[in-house]
Amino acid sequence: MALPRIGVLALQGAVDLHVHALERLGVETVEVRRAEHLALVDGLVLPGGESSTISKLLVINELFDPLAERLAAGMPAFGTCAGMIMLSSEILDGREDQLSFSAIDISVRRNAFGRQIDSFETDLEVIGLAEAPVHAVFIRAPVVERVGPGVEILAAVDEGRPVACRQGQVLVTSFHPELSPDLRLHELFIKGMAA
């Protein structure tokens, strides 16, 4: 099967790092800023960035509704950090006007580990990536506080706070695989699309 064409939501955040990671895997990428770009992609990466800013820009660029429709119709998506917040069904400690897509049935707390001084990196066991731990970088990171039925927890820190989850073809991580040279989470997402 041909590799899918993957969009990277390019309103704000670490867009370039995701594009670079996907290109290293030989995947064709499209930067998604407007609704017409959505029609070109088979799946979407929602990058790290500032979730409250991305939420506003989704509305301003008239992208929120078309993207919500695609996600509701089952488009595969991979959200890292702010991207995880955007894909969740409930945001805790968010701004009141902050929107999310309910593409995965989880509740996510923003800035759950504290301010930047508490940002950290660690080696993490991820289910499905058994050969070696993933080196995970957490930056003002969110954490999953509730998972609904049908949501798999793929990794956790601190005695069971989930930081990577999957439901169907939606994959989310609190941390930033795009900041490390380890491409296995991007690969996991792409393999999930082919399945």
């Binding site: 955040g13 960035g49 504290g114 930047q116 940002s119 066991e125 930056i139 820190v157 900041l179």
Partner: protein
């Protein structure tokens, strides 16, 4: 879940990756200067990715003169309480103690800034000694690389703060990015000369020759006053913008702030730039660079 409880023992904070990583997350965004919690709220409401807490915006520092110092911790904490986005704050060049205070306040980024009055005329802060990341200004590539060698995790081209005049920002961006482009075509022998001329560490020059980019993100500051200015510097290669006086010295700050956020995200889209530039009221009053008594960008060594 027993197999998922790792990540406690080997957790490390304040690393290079973690410090530079936050800058990566701010790309494509606008960082706004604010002097009180009310302005910070307006900035966050408008879609700022971070706020920079300071006592007076640069145009007021320029007007009032005197010594400009780190802000009152009470003001910084007041801002931290009302916004959920990252809060940055400025320390004077070389003022280790101000930086330590800002780190103890847990600000998310420290700006060792020429907008404040320098505390040391020869030495910048050893930024490797801190867990909180630093951003520093630069007018040229040599200055940028010296700051990076001291531990800066983010570079902003300096421009000329408080003028509402984008010409210096453009000069500095073009100088830094132009030299990077030249270095990528230099041969090995020429790289030694580049390092000498730039007064910069050779390994950083060699790294640029290989990667074609600075080892840390580069944003733009100093003189951005309109959505078109933001688009201009993004097109020239800045990865995000700092806006100082440009927002709260305009006639309608909330409107201007939103317009600059939208223009920065959509900097290549002239239709959106038309839409957001319309009916903005007055931009901040601008200053001709030739008329300035003090060029803030000349501070820093």
């Amino acid at each position: 879940m027993a197999d998922l409880t790792n990540g406690i023992v080997s957790r490390s904070t304040g690393t290079d990756l973690v410090k530079r990583g936050l800058a990566d997350m701010l790309k494509g965004g606008v960082i706004m200067d604010v002097v009180d919690p009310a302005q910070a709220k307006i900035a966050e409401d408008a879609g700022a990715v971070a706020v920079m807490a300071l006592e007076r915006v640069p145009s007021d520092i320029r007007r009032d003169g005197g010594v400009a110092r780190m802000s009152d911790p009470e003001m910084i904490q007041g801002i931290q309480e009302v916004v959920s986005i990252p809060v940055m704050a400025k320390a004077r060049i070389g003022h280790i103690a101000e930086a330590q205070i800002l780190q103890a306040l847990q600000v998310d980024y420290i700006d060792e800034s020429e907008v404040l009055t320098p505390a040391d005329e020869a030495h910048h802060i050893d930024k490797w000694a801190f867990d909180v990341p630093f951003v520093c200004g630069a007018t040229n590539l040599g200055e940028a690389l010296r700051r990076i060698s001291e531990g800066a995790c983010l570079i902003r081209s300096k421009g000329e703060a408080g003028t509402g005049n984008v010409v210096e920002a453009v000069r500095h961006l073009r100088s830094i990015l132009g030299d990077i482009r030249k270095i990528t075509t230099a041969d090995q022998a020429e790289l030694f000369d580049w390092a000498k001329r730039l007064q910069a560490p050779l390994p950083l020059v060699q790294e640029i020759a290989e990667t074609g980019t600075l080892p840390v993100p580069m944003f733009c500051a100093g003189g951005i006053a309109t959505p078109a200015d933001a688009s201009l510097v993004m097109q020239l290669g800045a990865q995000a913008v700092f806006v100082g006086s440009g927002i709260f010295k305009s006639s309608d700050p909330s409107h201007m702030a939103k317009a600059i956020v939208e223009a920065t995200a959509n900097y290549l889209d002239p239709d959106i730039l038309v839409k957001v530039s319309r009916g903005l009221g007055d931009a901040m009053p601008g200053l001709e660079i030739g008329s300035l008594e003090t060029k803030l960008s000349e501070r820093g060594w």
